[in-house]
């Protein structure tokens, strides 16, 4: 599964990016390795749980505020990302 995101800026590390994701509680920044970005999304593996149209997912790395798992709207997750 892929979670859509927006690239904000180059990250602190030599191969890192800062991305922004939308969660049920607002936006969160995540610092990721650029290799895991596919188009405008990151691979999150399988969904952990579902509730009322929202999905609990585990992020590739914790958010800058320290969250590893977040609830996200189901519209922000896709099964696959089409190849460029």
């Amino acid at each position: 599964m892929f979670l859509h995101c927006t690239v904000l800026e180059r990250g602190p590390g030599p191969s890192e990016l800062i991305i922004e994701i939308t969660t049920d509680n607002g936006t969160e920044e995540v610092i990721i390795d650029k290799d895991i970005l596919k188009e405008d999304a990151v691979d999150i593996g399988f969904v952990i749980a579902r509730r009322n149209g929202h999905l609990l997912v585990e992020l590739p790395r914790e958010t800058v505020s320290g969250k590893s798992r977040v609830w996200v709207p189901k519209e922000s997750v896709d099964q696959e990302i089409a190849a460029a």
């Binding site: 590390g13 191969s15 800062i18 895991i36 593996g45 952990i48 800058v64 320290g66």
Partner: protein
């Protein structure tokens, strides 16, 4: 269970653990860990009076803090009581189906000089991909030159007893609550 030298080499050869570039395994692997080297990228926090950071506040943004960071490349001289962010030269990938996680730890060669390589964040989760960030601090009395390519940390791999939920497509991943 902690992977031993033979298991580390086999895991790398079979792509269960990916390390790029692959270190010289003859010397980088020891009984229960693999040594990684230092990249040439460093970042320090500028000493800016009056800056107060609230990581737990709504709207906290690391991006907004980048203006307080100073980039350095090449060798870096870490002065006593100073802090620097650094990264391994190697990119490490631990697929979440590998049933492995890891811990990054320091090396006694640097520790005896007073240099630590992380600030209480050693866990490399299953599913991680990237160059490993180190939060280096010099507790010793002398300036320490950090040279790209030097052995700087070691990875200890631990076997998990199952596949994490995000790597498992069984009934629990689709449960409705």
């Amino acid at each position: 269970m902690i992977l031993t030298d033979r298991e580390i080499r086999t895991s790398i050869q079979e792509n269960v653990i990916r390390i790029d570039p692959i270190p010289d395994l003859d010397v980088a692997v020891s009984s229960t860990s693999i040594d990684l080297t230092l990249s040439d990228s460093f970042r320090t926090w500028s000493e800016t009076p009056g800056v107060s950071i609230s990581p737990g506040a709504d709207g906290y943004s690391y991006k907004n803090l980048l203006r307080f960071q100073v980039e350095h490349s090449g060798s870096y001289k870490l002065r006593p009581k100073n802090f620097v962010l650094a990264w391994t030269a190697e990119k490490v990938s631990i697929p979440f189906k590998s049933r492995l996680a890891a811990r990054v730890e320091g090396k006694s060669s640097l520790a005896r000089l007073g240099v630590s390589i992380h600030v209480t964040a050693p866990v490399i989760h299953s599913g991680f991909t990237g160059q490993i960030q180190m939060e280096m601090f010099n507790f010793g009395p002398y300036e320490i030159e950090l040279t790209p390519g030097m052995y700087v940390c070691q990875l200890v791999f631990e076997q998990t007893t199952g596949t994490p939920e995000r790597g498992y497509s069984g009934i629990f991943s689709d449960q409705t609550q």
